[in-house]
Amino acid sequence: MPDMEIMINEFVAQLTKRKIEGSQATARLTAELLRTVVSQQRLPPTNQAMALIEAVRGVGERLISANPVELAVGNIVRRVLHIIREENFSVLTSDTGNLNLSAETDDEDTDEQDNCSVPSVAALAARNVLRAPSLHALLETMPNSAVACTEEKSNFFLKRIVMSYSFPAEKFARSRKLKLDVIEAVNELIDDIDTCHEQISEQAVEHIHQNKVILTLGRSRTVLEFFCAAKQKQRSFRVFVAEGAPRYQGHVLAKELVARGVQTTLITDSAVFSLVSRVNMVLVGAHAVMANGGIIAPIGLNMVALAARKYAVPFVVVAGIHKLCPLYPHDPEVSLNGMRSPSELLEFGKFSANMEFGMGSGAPLLHVVNPAFDYVPPELVNLLITDVGGHNPSYMYRLIADYYSADDFVLQRKSTS
């Protein structure tokens, strides 16, 4: 346990100091940390899932409060919680299955029909109760035609499950199984995060036609991979890169694109408005995708999106599904923004010489504002390309229902109550 504490503290410190750059790296590290948390968590004999959830949530709260602006942390914590819930139910359903099997052997005279259908129905019912409704789940339950009665039956079987906890022999095996399943699922999640770029860039050829002119701002690894994939498929296209002051990540992107043989033109951010009119598509990366389909993006993208809207150029956002945040933004420019150092804009050594701070009213004469993120409202976004395909921003709520459990949307619930 102590080494666990050390790991968590170290990660929290890194997040607080903003040492980790990029939501993908953050997401991956968070998932790995949570995997360790799960594996090291000692589980009580009863109600193991709740214990796991509490543990993960406790760590998650600390991580989130370390850097509330990095939404990927919260996303991953929620994803892991969702995984635990899911795995718990699959364990439970398999338990009920076992139970039923034994019951079947014991009581031969019970109704055959009933017994056959009941386990699966129970499992599905359990899933239905605890998982947000989805089309997929609805389709799964259809053939059983037992939807109507699932409620009472699941209640019945849940009782039996609780009864079955009293068997001490099974307990150890089941706790191991839950843990192992969760860890396996988290591993899958990490794999997903790692491969999201490939998943996204596979769709590149569908979106980039021959001789297309694309504008982007700043640097996003997803965008880079997207371009590279199209280039590998022998598409020739042209990219305008806005440099993305004050961090000038656009220079890095331009260099990388040039190294891969893509026709690149580097422009200043102020020239975006002039050149958007000559561009077929604006393709940018995002920092986070909110539940309403709006995106939190590197600074400057709201301006680009407005210009794209003015000239009716499609504004396309590429983002891994780990950036999908189940929260609705309220005043995101302020509440979900980070302020970076003013020294990126003004060298104070040069400038403060002829500035007098704190004279007269006491307030400094000069403020330097250097926000890190911009909010692009969903009505300015034409398409969101994630690793599970392209979607309209209005569809985000649906994806959220697939990947998150509604109980986890508000993680801080416990501390507030």
Binding site: R238, F240, E243, G244, A245, P246, Y248, H251, V252, A254, K255, L257, V258, A259, G261, V262, Q263, T264, T265, L266, I267, T268, D269, S270, A271, V272, F273, S274, L275, S277, R278, I299, G300, N302, M303, L306, A307, K310, E333, N337, L345, L346, E347, F351, N354, M355, A363, L365, L366, H367, V368, V369, N370, P371, D374
Partner: protein, 637 residues
């Protein structure tokens, strides 16, 4: 939101009409208000006094005053219209030749002094401290109303000249006709010029010691001779006026600009060129029609040629080099520098034997202009100024002696600079300041001289507001503005253009400068202006463009691609102050990388709420009106 919307309603509908209303300090023409017109510099644009005053199509130098003998006089002769500056006043003077004698003129000496004062003003740099409209409130109160009226008439088009004239009138304090004073100024100027010029050709030599008090007799002697000349001016101008229109009609259509993807023409131009430009390595495909040269290579070459370039006057040469080096920027500064260089040229110019001054000087100016274009493409404002100079040269009466012609031209240029640039800025400031209220947050982009003057003046008036300075690479002009504003004690917020949509929430007004305003309402300005205006429009913040009327142009433009200027591409790849960030150095030679440094962009007119000019505050749809009137005033008459 409320505080943001309020400004729109505040805009006075009267003002938003196509407002040729008088600048505030022109209050005195109204005789009824003459008694106690205070310096209205900071009052809301002084539009209590009939703000909308669209001038007649061909304004006569004198108003239709039934009682005035002058009026009968002037209406008898057809005098070229739109006269606003000394040279053109030659004609009214001519018409008044006999009239002057009948007017008792007790104050010759004083008038001489004042004339001297006036003429020395524009030429003596641009220290306007003496000309601040505040400093002579309601000046010519004591003069005859006739004078006032005539002053009003030609001041109706350019309030600036009014100021100058009233400045003269101040020490006068007695009855005199403006024409007389005008004549005196003329004489003074001519005397001064001829005293300076070594090749003392024509006019009665007046010693270099023409000082205020001592010239009484000389003055008196000089004035009539001057008038004689100018009477012939009137005649010749009348003649010229007949054939002028169709010639100007042709000029009216803007000449097609040089397209740099036309190989033949580029080759031809290269042969003529003085400045040897090497073409940029990676030209941006989209901008092949614009010149894309390597920067920084021509300067040493040109410097070495300094003493070998015969056709180019050293003053012009100096200005050209400063353009090239980039230490002279900003539409007004560039324009003034160019005009002053032309003044120098004209001063040192002498007509070669068997050539006409008009033609030869025009050719000379043309060659200088093409040299300047080689150094840096002209801005539209400079194009307008050049057109003004050329028209003035073309309209010089043939009867004028060489030195007189030169003197006229120099004073013409002087008055262009003072009236159309410096005083225009003052008028713009006085208009714009009325749009600043306590508690406002004003956003500006880059560094515009007009906006800076507005901010400083509003601060001087004690208005409490905050300024947001938005800056963008690669020039980072906003820093210079920021430094000047902070030094004056204004509260500032500094940010870069990407954060403009973050900061726009708190902004109540956007003040922007412009390089030019085109006649479809498009604002052609420093790159990034369009972005700022667009974001402001999206956030429902009013956008006010501050631009002098001489920068208006009848050209139309829809995008920033067809016509633009490309700056040094290397400025893009170099990030100042951050060594590790300039990572592009090693791949700038790559075929695939192009660096595009746009200088200007075009802001669509739907983002512009209002354009503040020296003619008043107008909506962007009224730009063609200003263009038309300005041309009438300057280029056609």
């Amino acid at each position: 939101m409320d505080s943001r919307r309020a400004p729109r309603t505040v805009i006075d509908p009267k003002v938003r009409q196509v407002g040729f209303f008088a600048p505030p300090d022109r209050a005195q023409p109204d005789p009824s208000a003459s008694s106690s017109s205070p310096p209205v510099f900071n009052s809301p644009s002084g539009n209590s006094l009939s703000p909308v005053m669209i001038p007649p199509a061909r304004p006569l130098p004198f108003p239709p005053l039934p009682l005035s003998p002058l009026h009968r006089r002037s209406s008898g002769e057809s005098i070229p219209a739109g006269s606003y500056n000394p040279s053109e006043f030659a004609s009214p003077i001519g018409s008044l030749k006999d009239f002057n004698g009948s007017i008792p003129s007790p104050g010759w000496g004083h008038r001489g002094a004042s004339g001297k004062h006036a003429s020395s003003l524009p030429s003596g740099g641009f220290d306007l401290s003496a000309m601040k409209p505040n400093s002579f409130p309601a000046i010519s109160l004591t003069t005859v109303s006739m004078v006032n009226m005539s002053a009003e008439k030609d001041g109706g088009l350019s309030g600036a000249s009014q100021n100058e004239r009233s400045a003269n009138a101040k020490p006068l304090k007695e009855k005199t006709s403006k024409a007389e004073r005008r004549a005196l100024q003329e004489a003074q100027r001519a005397a001064k010029i001829s005293a300076k010029a070594e090749g003392s050709k024509a006019p009665p030599a007046i010693s270099g010691s023409v000082t205020s008090g001592t010239v009484k007799p000389a003055k008196a002697a000089k004035a009539p001779s001057q008038k004689k000349d100018s009477s012939s001016v009137a005649v010749s101008e009348k003649k010229g006026g007949d054939r002028q229109p169709d010639k100007d009609k042709k000029k009216d259509v803007p000449q097609p600009r040089m397209q740099f993807d036309d190989k033949n023409r580029v080759e031809k131009a290269k042969k003529r060129a003085v400045v040897k430009q090497t073409e940029a390595r990676n030209r941006v495909e989209l901008f092949r029609h614009l010149p894309q040269y390597e920067h920084g290579t021509q300067l040493p070459d040109l410097e070495s040629k300094f003493f070998h370039l015969d056709p180019v006057h050293p003053a012009v040469y100096k200005v050209g080099l400063r353009y090239l080096a980039g230490d002279l920027s900003g539409g007004n500064a560039r324009c003034i520098a160019m005009l002053q260089a032309f003044q120098e040229t004209i001063k040192d110019y002498s007509v070669p034997p068997e050539k006409a001054l008009n033609r030869d000087l025009t050719g000379k100016i043309n060659s200088h202009v093409s040299f300047l274009i080689e150094c840096r493409p002209l801005s539209i404002s400079m194009g307008n100024a050049i057109r003004f100079v050329k028209t003035r040269i073309a309209k010089l009466p043939l009867t004028l002696s060489e030195s007189e012609a030169k003197a006229t031209l120099i004073s013409d240029i002087n008055s262009f600079i003072t009236e159309k640039i410096i005083l225009a800025d003052k008028v713009i400031v006085s208009h714009a300041v009325t749009k600043v209220r306590d508690g406002d947050v004003l956003l500006t982009f880059g560094s515009s001289s007009a906006v800076e003057m507005i901010l400083l003046h509003a601060h001087e008036l004690g208005k409490r507001f905050r300024v947001v300075v938005v800056d963008s690479r690669p020039k980072l002009e906003g820093r210079l503005l920021l430094r000047r504003l902070v030094a004056k004690g204004l509260r500032c917020t500094y940010t870069h253009i990407n954060a403009v949509s973050y900061i726009m929430h708190e902004v109540t007004r956007v003040f922007l400068g412009a390089s030019s305003v085109l006649s479809n309402g498009t604002v052609y300005s420093r790159v990034g202006t369009a972005c700022v205006a667009m974001v402001a429009h999206a956030f429902r913040v009013p956008v006010l463009i501050c631009c002098e009327a001489y920068k208006f142009h009848e050209r139309v433009q829809l995008d920033s691609i067809c016509s633009n200027e490309l700056g040094d591409p290397d400025a893009i790849s170099k990030v100042p102050g951050a060594q590790e960030k300039s990572c592009l150095d090693d791949c700038t030679n790559s075929e695939n990388l192009q660096l595009l440094n746009l200088i200007y962009d075009a802001t669509p007119s739907d983002y512009v709420s209002m354009i503040i000019t020296d003619y008043g505050m107008i909506p962007p749809t009224s730009v063609p009106v200003i263009v038309r009137e300005f041309r009438k005033e300057h280029f056609w008459t």
